[in-house]
């Protein structure tokens, strides 16, 4: 593969003039000497990966205290079933001791099995002691306890369950939250890096008169833009690879589709956000103006673009709008490739959306990025 790749890279480099390559190298050098911004652009995704690494990607078991005042086989059976449930982390003990722990927050709930726990005489009654602040977990606790009780009852009465729910993933692969989250996170990362590289930099260079200084030399605006795009592309690709590499090795993320498609999508996404960043940078005249503008661009997308939770869980009225946002198009595109193994070359709504955004951002950038005005 390597020998196939090298001539490709060579050909790619020949497409650019030596000025464009030199300028791109200069921009890279400037970025690499700015340790702080490198650190901070990696900070957010790495914290996420770290959090998932330590939690194992699963939610913690619920701490459950168990007071067994009964000695018969029914209570023993019940306590074994509850203890064996992975949803719970069971501690058996005295009621007074466990109550103290409940108040301290070390236990989420306590189940008390009464002395005469038996179903033969009358319905056996269990007491559940709770901390009201933990009520959001009540549903899960009740559900699991009821299931345990039901299975004990069936066993004792010797009846077979009428129904059994078997959960099967139609896509036949394990889908964890991190599998869903990572592509969105990558899309969010490349959006931030691109906007910082084009929008913020342009405004800063203009404010300090650097663009004006460049403009009195014979450099063409095209050369300037191409070199920023090249430099940013390199930065985005390296940073995405670092995060992706860590996610694959540490969190056992599997990329179902091809890496060519995945990186192709990253490149297209970066081009879109760089173009949009150039527009924001051209419209915003000052550093004070670019911040709220970029925030107004980023935050609705962060919330609406299905980076953290699926768009389908949003109010129906907002969904078409959410689906059309550039970040959601790219996040969905990356997710389709990473989770479902689709290809960038297959025409579907996502790749169509990418195409539309590329064309749109090119049109907007050529309309708004006027070198003379930007430089002055």
């Amino acid at each position: 593969m390597y020998s196939l790749l090298l001539p490709g890279i060579n050909l790619g480099i020949k497409m650019f003039t030596s000025l464009q390559l030199h300028l791109a190298k200069v921009f890279l050098k400037i970025f690499l000497r700015d340790r702080q911004s490198i650190l901070f652009s990696l900070f957010f995704p790495l914290v996420f990966i770290g959090a998932f690494l330590f939690s194992g990607g699963e939610s913690d078991p619920i701490n459950l205290g168990l007071v067994n005042n009964s000695t018969n086989s029914v209570s023993k059976n019940f306590s074994e079933l509850v203890t064996g449930d992975p949803l719970f982390n069971v501690t058996e003990g005295e009621e007074s001791y466990l109550k103290e722990q409940l108040i301290l927050g070390d236990q989420t709930a306590i189940i008390v099995i009464p002395e005469n726990f038996d179903y033969l005489e009358k319905t056996g009654e269990l007491r559940l002691l709770l901390d009201a602040s933990q009520v959001r977990q009540l549903g899960a606790i009740k559900e699991a306890l009821n299931t345990s009780l039901l299975s004990i009852e069936r066993e004792l009465r010797n009846v077979e369950p009428m129904f059994r729910l078997k959960i099967e993933d139609v896509k036949a692969r394990p889908q964890r939250y991190i599998d869903f989250l990572l592509p969105g996170l990558l899309a969010f990362m490349l959006m931030n890096l691109s906007l910082a590289g084009s929008g913020f930099n342009i405004v800063e260079y203009r404010r300090r008169g650097i663009l004006k200084r460049l403009f009195v030399t014979p450099i063409q605006p095209k050369d300037f833009i191409v070199s920023i795009v090249l430099a940013r592309m390199a930065i985005v690709l390296v940073q995405i690879s670092v995060v992706l590499g860590l996610a694959i090795t540490l969190l056992d993320i599997r990329i179902v589709g091809s890496f060519y498609s995945l990186y192709g999508m990253v490149i297209l996404g970066t081009v879109i956000f760089l173009c949009l960043g150039f527009c924001l940078g051209s419209i915003a005249k000052t550093q004070e103006a670019i911040r709220p503008m970029v925030s107004a661009f980023i935050f609705p997308q962060l919330i609406l673009s299905g980076v953290f939770f699926p768009i389908s869980s949003m109010p129906e009225l907002m969904q078409p709008f959410a689906h059309a946002l550039p970040l959601s198009v790219i996040a969905t595109g990356l997710r389709d490739i990473a989770n479902d193994g689709t290809s960038l070359l297959i025409l579907n709504t996502t790749t169509l959306g990418i195409g539309i955004w590329i064309i749109l951002s090119f049109i907007i950038v050529t309309k708004f990025f006027v070198w003379k005005e930007v430089a002055n």
């Binding site: 700015d34 004006k212 403009f215 009195v216 030399t217 014979p218 430089a375």
Partner: protein, 254 residues
């Protein structure tokens, strides 16, 4: 032989505070600059000096009139003009985290030229600062560096916009010597300034601008003869500052 020919140059901007009305920042000026001259444009703040220079440098569109630089029309040949001029702007900031040598090489690349950065730094007396960043330089050193940047393409004409504003007398003298040296080597130099002494010391000819118009143009000596031959104070004779004030009035401009 004229290297710069400016005919009836106009530039208008919207009136500050009243966007509907416009005013002429440059109001129909005409002048020629000869090869090898040091030509000074003097004027109070807002006289139109910088706007005039920016039109010649291709930074600003020309509303009407024409400007020829070395026979090239600035409006239609902006990029060719940029190849043969060197420009020092009032703001002289550069990309962060690059040292002087790296910046000079970068500027050379913008003209598609390999440059001798050491030679350039030596010319402006900054060879010992080759690994320094621009923000670590003093005001005078910064100005000298920005002239070095303007020299990377070995220009025929060097434009200097208020090169000594804010410099102490030593740094100012040092810069004057640099300008004199460059001119002695054959470079045509166009500069704007508020500093009368500078204009008198450096310039072969001076144009005085006020409110967008060119109100006088001559050699320093002839201007003094014409407008300030009578000493205004106890001095033996008036100087070019007297000329300036006689022509533009004493009122503060900003």
């Amino acid at each position: 032989m004229n290297i710069i020919e400016v005919r009836n140059l106009y530039k208008s901007y919207p009136q500050p505070g009243n966007k509907k009305e416009s005013f002429n920042a440059v109001d129909g000026i005409t002048f020629n600059i000869e090869v090898g001259e040091v030509y000074g444009i003097l004027g109070p703040n807002g006289a139109g000096k910088t706007t005039t220079l920016e039109m010649l440098e291709g930074l600003n569109d020309i509303d009407s009139g024409s400007a020829l630089i070395d026979g090239l029309d600035v409006s239609s040949n902006a990029f060719k003009v940029k190849e043969i001029i060197g420009v020092q702007l009032q703001a002289n900031e550069y990309f962060d985290r690059l040292d002087l040598t790296e910046l000079l090489i970068l500027f050379g690349k913008l003209y598609s030229q390999e440059i001798d950065s050491e030679g350039l730094l030596k010319k402006v007396d900054l060879l010992d600062k080759s690994k320094a960043k621009p923000e670590e330089l003093s005001g005078g050193q910064k100005q000298r560096f920005s002239i070095a940047c303007a020299l990377v393409n070995n220009p025929k004409i060097l434009f200097l916009d208020e090169p000594t504003t804010g410099l102490d007398p030593q740094a100012k003298r040092n810069l004057w010597n640099l300008v004199k040296d460059l001119n002695a080597a054959g470079m045509t130099i166009v500069l704007t300034t508020h500093n009368m002494e500078e204009a008198e010391y450096l310039c072969n000819r001076i144009a005085i601008m006020d409110q967008g118009k060119l109100v006088a143009e001559d050699t320093p000596h002839d201007l003094i003869q014409k407008y300030a031959s009578e000493p205004q104070q106890a001095a033996l004779h008036g100087n070019i500052e007297d000329v300036f004030l006689a022509l533009t009035g004493h009122k503060l401009r900003d």
